[in-house]
């Protein structure tokens, strides 16, 4: 049995076709699931303690449990309610490219995962909401979908059972906010990609007003092995409160940026070592543990296990597990400005703090970086961090965007001060 359930089938240059995938144990998890009651599949996933890999780390089994099942999922006329499964493959978090690896390297793994999830919640239609720029993923996924449909794994009465599933690939028109599950649903319906108010939660009223589960691509890719090898096997893969493995990544000026599948709870130091450390002459100054919308951590935090609670305790979030390393030759103010520019541009424009607060923060940061900042600006930035914090905005985009800013203001206060005192960027930017 493998200890790399996500990457065991992976081949980026020449991904397995359906036969190769099946002969190496593929679709066994789905077959096992199909032999079980949907609720039993849900239970097995709950038991595995799988957490969502999109960034929030919500228990996958628990998320599914809110979907009305059986008698509770009937229309007014007594017919069973249409339900949907959506794979969130709109991977746009800066510094994050794990889903791309999975979809390019093992498209059938995702499809099998989706089939298991769809079966578990009783969905007969599923969508892959794919980032529009992921052209190769689109080609390979569509190929895989066609193969699966042809061999009877997708479509009506799969493997002679009562269960039917049609799977569609949808290419996003391209907004970061589509990673927010309700904005994704709106976009999929053809509406503006604004997030929806919760409640109602998508599990009850989602796509086209029907019960819907939106799961991250990596989350879904974990399912085949859970169903194949069991919940206990899966949770024991990691020596950590969090179960299973995770695809960790590093970007930034390291020697060998990339992705590695490691058991949950590997330390950032281990990951950095796999990347062969920083490029010559550079030292690590700080790092974002899981994409652009997480708080900075310092080199002193490198030995903390990369798991949800431990990273939270250190003041950040595990997020997507895609580390962005900041080196000592790079201006932290410039980096924060760059990140905030991204978020300001990607705000959907729905709620005031995000729509008008982020460009405001960008305006201030630009001035500071250009050496035209003042002490007031720092105060104003701190205020803006509060203004865009959780509870004040409609969705999590702005609070996420604020994370590198507020931690940056703390950890790199000296650098900010230098920009103001010396009326310019000390790094010569």
């Amino acid at each position: 049995m493998t200890n790399r359930p996500l990457t065991e089938h992976l081949d980026r240059s020449n991904p397995q076709d359906i036969k190769a995938y099946q002969s190496s144990g593929g679709y066994q998890g789905f077959k096992n699931a199909l032999a079980m009651e949907p609720q039993a599949v849900q239970q097995q996933v709950s038991d595995s303690k799988l957490k969502g890999r999109g960034g929030a780390g919500f228990m996958t089994g628990m998320k599914w449990s809110f979907v009305p099942m059986g008698d509770k999922a009937l229309n007014q006329d007594g017919t069973p309610q249409q339900k949907y499964l959506v794979c969130n493959a709109d991977e746009m978090e800066p510094g994050t490219f794990k889903d791309r690896l999975l979809m390019e390297g093992a498209p059938h793994l995702l499809i099998e995962g989706m089939m298991i999830a769809a079966y578990a919640i009783g969905a007969s239609v599923a969508y892959i909401f794919l980032r529009g720029e992921y052209r190769l993923c689109a080609t390979r996924l569509q190929q895989a979908i066609d193969e699966a449909t042809k061999s009877g794994l997708l479509g009506k009465n799969i493997n002679g059972s009562d269960y039917s599933l049609s799977l569609h690939l949808h290419l996003s028109a391209g907004r970061y906010i589509c990673g927010e599950e309700t904005a994704l649903i709106n976009a999929l319906e053809g509406r503006r990609a604004n997030p929806r108010a919760k409640p109602p939660f998508p599990q009850v009223m989602g796509l086209f007003g029907r019960p819907t589960i939106v799961n991250n691509c990596e989350t879904l890719c974990n399912l085949p092995s859970i169903l194949n090898h069991g919940a206990q096997w899966y949770s024991e893969l990691a020596n950590s409160p969090d179960a299973g493995t995770k695809i960790y990544g590093v970007s930034g000026r390291v020697k060998n940026a990339g992705l590695w599948e490691l058991p949950m709870g590997a330390t950032a130091q281990q990951i950095l070592d796999l990347a062969n450390g920083m490029q010559d002459g550079l030292k690590l100054k700080g790092w974002l543990p899981g994409g652009a919308s997480t708080d900075f951590l310092l080199p002193e935090h490198l030995d903390i296990p990369m798991e949800y609670d431990a990273i939270a305790k250190a003041g950040s979030r595990l997020g997507t597990g895609g580390i962005i390393a900041l080196d000592d030759h790079h201006c932290p103010v410039g980096m924060i400005l760059n990140l905030l520019q991204f978020f300001a541009q990607e705000s959907c424009g729905w709620c005031t703090p995000c729509r008008d607060g982020l460009p405001w923060a960008v305006e201030i940061l630009s001035r500071i970086e250009a050496g035209k900042g003042s002490q007031d600006d720092i105060d104003q930035l701190l205020k803006m961090c509060g203004f865009m914090w959780i509870g004040k905005t409609f969705c999590a985009l702005a609070p996420g965007a604020v994370e590198p800013l507020r931690s940056g203001l703390t950890y790199f206060a000296d650098e900010f001060q230098q920009h103001i005192d010396h009326k310019g960027c000390p790094y010569g930017h």
Partner: protein
Amino acid sequence: MANIIIDNQQYEVADGQNLLQACLSLKKDLPYFCWHPAMGSVGACRQCAMTQYHDENDTRGRLIVACMTPVTDGMRVSMEQPQETEFREQVIDALMTHHPHDCPVCAEGGECHLQDMTVMTGHYKRGFKGKKTTFQNQQLGPLIKHEMNRCITCYRCERFYKDYAGGTDLAAQSSRNKVYFGRQCDGTLESEFAGNLVEVCPTGVFTDKPFGDHYSRKWDMQAAPSVCQHCSTGCNVTLSERYGSVRRVTNRFNDHLNGYFLCDRGRFGFDFVNSEQRQQHISLGGQSVNWSDAEVQQRLKAKGTWVGIGSSQASLEDNFALQLLVGAENFCVADDPQSEHLLELHMAILQQWPQASLAQMEQADAIVIIGEDINNSAPRIGLAIRQALLNNAKQQVKNVGVPEWQDSAVRQVLPHNKVPLAVVGYQQGALAEQATIRLVADDKQTAEQAFLLANLLCEKSPKPRVSKVHSQIEEIAEVLKTAKRPLIVGGWSANNSAVLSAVANICKALANPQGMLCIAPPAANTVGLGLLMQAGYLANEAVESKLKSEECNLLVLDHTSDSRQQWLQTLSKQTNNVVCLQQLAQGENNSLSLPISSFSECSGSQLNYQGLIQSYSPASKPAGQCRPAWQWLVDLGKLQNIAELASVEHLGQLHLMMSKLFPTLAEHFTELSGRQFAMQSPRYSGRTAMLANQTVHEPKPFSEAGAPYKQSMEGLLPGQNDQHPLAYSWSPGWNSNQSNHKFRDEFRGPELKSQQGIFAVPNHPECFWFKWQASWSANTKANYKILAVEEVFGSDSLAEFAGAIQQLSKSAYVVVLPKVASSLNIEAGQWVTLDDHPTLFAVKISDHVPAKSILLYSPAHEAAISDGCDEIKVASKQKISALHKRQQAQQDVQSQQKQLHKQRLLDQDQHIPIQFIEGAM
């Protein structure tokens, strides 16, 4: 009820509402933008932030937005703590980063919700140091001006225009802080409710264009509570006046009728009162004369019978005075026998069945529209029906524990939870497109199928000649059987009494006490004429013979329709003495015409489609020799020694006389006695200065004897007395129409309060079946049956005198079936002629045209066309070029007139005619 604690004080509030509604209903000043009482909550602007606490020991709490938080028993919140007040101020600071701060030149200034909220949050210093974004504005047509830079991105415009009113050509575009609300490209806004954007927008992005051409600040205008004149709904409006001209119409809240919204015909049609065609002097054969002139006196005192023709455009009082003057036996209520018959029938149905208010219609769970083009005949009712379509979706979200005011949730489930809407008939338009069941039929088939529907619901209901029931009708019957609150809509559009009878039969057959009925008559006071009819009338068909057989004089109350003008021409051949009471000079003939006040210049009452009596007050004074029609008639009565009118000096006396005849009216006419309300705000400026270039004397405020208002700053202010109508909506800190909540609860609650007011037509509980009449079965012999359709802009002859409406009016068109078009080899957009009729019609092609019929629209001021036509021919090139020339000439005249009109009004601002200042002649 729920007990909630706000800032450590306990309040009892109604269950089911959100915290913002609760706070506003408690008259607390909590700022907000994106929420709207009629459109629910979406939580976008974050302006109404409060803090919610777990319990009394929780000191930190958690920030919430009040509009998205349902009130729950025992909830503990704060509104005045620094955490939320600072955040609210920051929100203003943020959403104003790109606002141009151009209040002094902004038409919204002084009644701007953004100004009010800014002051309310205490924000005074701009924090943002960057550059402002500049947007390109769009030309949105003659009604609405667009100034995107002022936008604070509250999404209200889009939500009203698209979601609430069903418009398709205005939407949010782009994203982040570049969100743009407009059309894809320049062009006139298509929705007939676009004018509401002016009031829905919390700042000056969408402003009233005609008003902007002749502008005044809200506080400087004298405002009068009034009632719309442009259909039978009776929407409540506020008229605003300065320097003797009426400047604009705004919505006056009425829970059961218009709510917060008006249609554009009502909002912009009022301008006929300022029209250049207004008659201001007594004229005889087109020449100005005086009352005391011998010829005039001779005409007025002429011997012989006086025959009076009433008007559905005139007030109840005017018609009543005419009826008194000529005697009921000489009082004619309709321009043609068919309308008279419809009116008789309408009154018979109204006596049997109370008519639903708009708010009640919004609660319907099944709607059947029979032969009525409600979108065009009474647009505001169409808008109300549109809201009813959401009811199943609202129930659906409630089932999963989400409150129905959470608008986006409701709209998510709307597509597969539509309330059944059946449309039977040939009418086109937005509601027909929404129909879940649609049967295209001409007026006769519509009536037949509706009779059959009644019969399906109850066997006792009489059958028509035919017996073939369309499957759609069977479907409708099933829907109606299970519906809890079905709504049946009919009206005069089809000009067919069988349709009205059928609608009444369906109601009787339904026998559902929760069932609702709405029959839309054509004009603002049609039902008023129907009421007076009860005291007796002269049949339309008898008028001409009466004029022929004896020496008669004709006394005519103003009506602007083309059919009226044509009929008068016929009648004037039979008598030498025609006296017209006119507000708009129309036609040249040998008649004596007396200039009368418009609804904006005198008090009056009218009955809406429900028979609800509503009164309006004058916003300005009558100009020139204009007087209210009833006053001319009373004077005429005195000249002719009519005993009933001898002692009448003011409107109150007429009211008393009317109350004796129709006792139900008494309560309405007495309820407004007591202290008068002020029409000018305490901030009205220039009171002593505006006339100083002409006279040093300050004229006495104009007022009619016994009237409940004062055209001055003295008197009751808004809200001081519930009995009085709100002249204008204003409250300290709330200068915009959003101040409305200070005078009422912002939450309607699950149970609709019953409609206030007096229904003038007494209800007789006994009701009978209407039988199918053989004459209804006749078919036309022509090749094509002509079915007349209406347009919001173009079919109301009165509104056609308003410049802005004129610009929007469509030219004549016909709608034909695709197979007819192909057999005649005509294409959409081509010009055709019908038989020998001189008018050119543009061709439209649609599948929803009954067989052997064509739909025809011709504007109000173009000659009507008969029931059938034999030949549709492509118009010759000469005719088309002549038409284009005519249209061009017309446009030139219109734009010239517009300039002159504007200049005259601006001149009037400088120099008000003295007699006009003093009011009376």
